[in-house]
């Protein structure tokens, strides 16, 4: 389990065979990963491009589909709507998240851990939950609908509801990035500013904001991309405000027009890829903020500022909690808004009449498979890319493919899967309609962040481990099993949890891929809402939050336990 264990010399006679085996395994792993990403990511995306140039019968028609797209006013309108929605969501969410992160990292408010946990709660909920809650809150029979006219709105359906729901769903993603970018600051800059008598505002604009600008760009791009590709929110609360994600669904599911679906998918891909590239270019220019001479900045108490910030943080936390609790309340109310007595009928309806227990079971199975397989594949993949040698030409290709899912909206991935796997000519056609395709699409959909987490953890390990093992003729997998994996175990658990929670809540890719036997809990919310059964829809959404929360708590407990058992070196480590 320790470095010494790994560096024990291997027995000499088996060395040659081991080296050959290692040569094959190292390259084989890389080839396997590259071909996996090719089959489950790149080829399905390539199919979208191909199909967009074909007519329904499969004949090449050049740009005819694109011309028809541009000439269909309803479709062109939703492109504009999508960009408007995403822009407004970004402008709302990023400052909201920045101020929150600022309060946590740069002020002396109490109970920071609590606020931070509450801010991350939306990750546990399907975005549909937020949309349902805002109907309960601000719908025509909403609890707080009296507030709408104050904001100059006549109805929550459409853009207002979509932005409010998105502010819930994308908030934790923006806040995590900004928390990280505000976590470190050079105190010397602040001291210099104070010495020169700079005003607090000027200091904020000239010191704090510039140091967080890369985080701000990232947070903006993540929020924008999430909003562009969001499906559940506009489906439930979008009213007559069509967006591209809805158009894809209508074309592919409603009209089974896969070619036009492919065209809309490509259109949807453009803003997402632009955001991805902007972010990548900006991040490349980021230089280290902290140098060896830096002094970490620690906020000092300031009564007025801390007081105001605490009020703000409490308000934001209340926003997140109200959304979740509203759905939970809606799920136990007999008949909104006319009979507010308590009932479990909606849970019973969902489970018995609508046969949702089957969907919930499927969701659990899928989430567990995604967690186990996803964590294993992602971590092993990152290891192969970062820590093995040979087949160097493949590495950049694999790295690029590993980052690609971040730029691909789930709806687009889903339609790529239909086109690729449902083609009778494809030998992998047997996967279509199975649980396996749901697991594969979900792992690929959330691959990039997991891959990054794994790479970060692996990079913390000195490359010397591998060189020493190699020179001692210890096969790489022994080093992996004895050193790398145990050291990185907390990260592996994080990745597994990330896959589990996302698999419980996702709808975007799987809505195209589920079959009657593999329908999922998140999708059943969509169907119940469509049939007007909003109580049961709220019940299922609440159940998903409860499940994700339980699994999160359990996995954090497991992590804590493992850290104590196997990571004693972290505390005992002597200075290098």
């Amino acid at each position: 389990m320790t470095a010494e264990a790994a560096s024990r010399p291997a027995a000499a006679p088996e060395a040659r065979g081991v080296i050959l085996g290692e040569w094959i395994a190292a390259r084989g792993g890389l080839v396997l990963l590259a071909s996996g990403l090719l089959v489950f990511l790149t080829l399905p995306l390539a199919m979208i491009l191909m199909r967009s140039f074909e007519d329904r019968a499969g004949a090449f028609v050049g740009l005819a589909n694109f011309v028809r797209y541009v000439q269909t006013p309803a479709l062109a309108q939703s492109t504009w709507n999508t960009l408007t929605f995403a822009a407004i969501a970004t402008v709302v969410v990023v400052p909201m998240a920045f101020l929150f992160a600022y309060a946590i990292q740069r002020t002396c408010i109490p109970a920071k851990g609590l606020w931070r946990s509450i801010a991350l709660l939306p990750i546990l909920a399907p975005s549909l939950l937020a949309a349902i809650s805002f109907i309960y809150l601000f719908g025509n029979q909403g609890l707080l609908r009296g507030l709408l006219p104050l904001a100059g709105l006549s109805s929550i359906y459409g853009l207002p509801g979509m932005v409010l729901a998105m502010a819930f769903a994308s908030f934790p993603h923006a806040v995590m990035i900004l928390l990280a970018s505000l976590s470190l600051a050079d105190a010397r800059l602040y001291e210099a500013a104070d010495a020169m008598g700079t005003s607090a505002l000027r200091r904020f604009v000239t010191v704090t904001l510039p140091s967080a600008k890369y985080g701000l760009v990232s947070a903006a791009m993540v929020t924008f991309t999430m909003a562009v590709s969001e499906f559940g929110v506009p489906k439930v609360i979008g009213g007559n405000y069509p967006v591209l994600a809805i158009d894809i669904y209508k074309q592919v599911i409603g009209q089974q027009n896969f070619q036009m679906g492919a065209v809309v998918g490509l259109v949807l891909l453009v803003p997402a890829v632009v955001a991805f590239v902007v972010d990548a270019v900006v991040q490349r220019r980021q230089k280290a903020l902290m140098s060896a001479r830096s002094v970490p900045y620690a906020p000092r108490p300031a009564r007025l500022r801390d007081g105001l910030m605490l009020v703000y943080v409490v308000l934001i936390s209340a926003y997140m909690l109200v959304v979740i609790l509203m759905a939970a309340y809606g799920s136990v109310v007999k008949f909104w808004p006319y009979n507010l007595s308590f009932t479990f009928d909606h849970y019973r309806y969902g489970f018995e009449e609508a046969g949702v227990e089957h969907a919930y079971g499927n969701s659990l199975v899928m989430a567990a498979l995604c967690a186990v397989l996803g964590a294993a594949i992602t971590f092993a993949g990152a290891y192969w890319v970062e820590k093995t040698r040979g087949a160097d030409a493949l590495r950049p290709v694999v790295r690029l493919q590993a980052m690609l899912p971040m730029a691909v909206p789930g709806m687009v991935l889903g339609i790529g899967y239909i086109l690729f796997f449902n083609s009778p000519a494809n030998p992998l056609n047997v996967l279509y309609g199975t649980m396996a395709i749901l697991v594969a699409s979900t792992i690929v959909h959330f691959y990039s962040s997991s891959h990054l987490a794994a790479v970060t953890a692996l990079k913390q390990l000195d490359g010397e481990f591998e060189s020493v093992s190699a020179s001692l003729k210890v096969p790489f997998y022994r080093t992996f099993g004895r050193v790398t994996l145990p050291v990185c175990l907390p990260t592996v658990i994080d990745i597994a949890r990330y896959y589990f929670v996302n698999a419980m809540t996702t709808i975007s890719a799987v809505v195209f891929l589920y079959s009657p036997k593999t329908t999922l809990a998140s999708i059943s919310i969509l169907h119940m809402d469509e049939a007007g059964a909003i109580g049961p829809a709220a019940a299922m959404a609440t159940l998903i939050v409860a499940t994700s929360a339980l699994v999160t708590v359990l996995s954090l407990a497991a992590e804590h336990f493992i850290l104590r058992r196997t990571q004693a070196w972290r505390r005992a480590a002597a200075p290098a």
Binding site: G158, V430, A436, F476, A531, G532
Partner: protein
């Protein structure tokens, strides 16, 4: 902890994936049935069928009429369904025209009224029941806003209803489609579209199922939900403050109908389902939900539905509706979907 061997690990990953992909071993005859029936009806029908045929297991593929119709047409080269049950007769007409259905005379066909089955012999499809237009009118919300109860379709174009009406989207919903075809047949093409132009001014949302507009009216989200009698009665039974309104000019309607898909490998089981679908046992189940069932003797009055319901239905030309489906939906979309969102 033992060192984990990379390849062994990979092998177990692959094995797990294979397990996940393997379809469950089948013991009973598995019948894939495409349907647009309501989720809360399916359970009773399935139990009824399994009481007679416990050896056949139905896998329902359920979606709204428009989606199921598009799916069946898209899969016509390699159909996945064995039976289509509870899908609009206008859609069945389309499938028949595409040669997708296997004509079959279910046992007891003579009991089915002539207007509720495909007139050919043997018929490509047979009806189960009639479902027809019903307006859900929320009396509590209407009283708050001083909105009068509508008596006719034309009433709904009055300014009093502005922003208070929801109806199903005709491309997604069978209910929405028969509303539109009924108006076109009642008022004539030109007048019909003019009526819908006026209605559009008052529509708050086009929804994607026939049920949701009534559920929305029942919950007071809107005052008027254009829907159908089954959902209206269900909502009223749950305690919703709604009244069922049957506009005077006439009600759009369609048949829920069933037929066998020509390519099925499970013909025996498919025939058993069709036989059951017009049996007295099945008709009794349909009669709990709908006022008119295909075997007239089995119809029974439904609460809140007038006794002369049958005579209020418009004369619906299924052949015309099926033939013009694509044209009507394109025209509808051009008029009402390409406009920027109202309000």
């Amino acid at each position: 902890m033992k060192p984990v061997h990379g390849l062994a690990w990979l092998a177990s990953v692959a094995a797990l994936a294979a397990v996940a992909a393997a379809p469950a071993a089948a013991q009973k005859t598995q019948l894939t049935v495409y349907t647009a029936l309501e989720t809360d009806q399916l359970k009773a029908y399935q139990e009824g069928f399994n009481k007679a045929h416990p050896d056949i297991e139905i896998t329902w593929v359920r979606d709204s009429t428009g989606i199921i119709t598009a799916k069946i047409l898209a899969e016509k080269a390699a159909p996945k369904a064995d039976v289509i049950m509870g899908v609009a007769a206008t859609s069945m007409g389309l499938f028949d025209a595409e040669g997708l259905l296997l004509p079959y005379a279910p046992a007891g066909l003579a009991r089915v009224a002539a207007q509720y089955r495909d007139p050919k012999n043997p018929p490509a499809w047979v009806g189960m029941d009639v479902w027809g237009a019903t307006v859900c009118f929320n009396t509590v919300e209407a009283a708050k806003r001083n909105i009068p109860k509508p008596e006719t379709w034309k009433d709904l174009t009055k300014p009093a209803y502005k922003g208070q009406i929801v109806m199903p989207h005709p491309a997604s919903s069978g209910t929405g489609f028969f509303d539109v075809t009924a108006w076109l047949q009642l008022f004539g093409e030109a007048e019909g579209w003019k009526f819908m132009d006026g209605l559009h001014e008052n529509i708050a949302q086009y929804m994607h199922s026939g049920s949701r507009p009534c559920a929305a009216a029942a919950a007071g989200e809107y005052v008027v939900g254009i829907s159908f009698e089954y959902r209206a009665n269900r909502e009223k039974a749950r305690g919703a403050p709604i009244e069922l309104v049957f506009p005077k000019e006439g009600l759009g309607w369609d048949l829920e109908a069933s037929g066998i898909v020509k390519t099925t490998q499970k013909l025996d089981a498919a025939k058993k389902l069709l036989d059951w679908s017009i049996s007295d046992a099945a008709m009794a189940l349909y009669a709990n939900n709908f006022a008119i069932v295909a075997v007239p003797a089995m119809s029974k009055p439904l609460p809140n539905v007038p006794a002369d319901y049958a005579s209020r239905l418009v004369k619906n030309d299924f052949a015309w509706a099926a033939k013009n489906r694509e044209r009507i939906l394109a025209e509808w979309s051009k008029r009402y979907e390409s406009k920027a969102a109202p309000k």
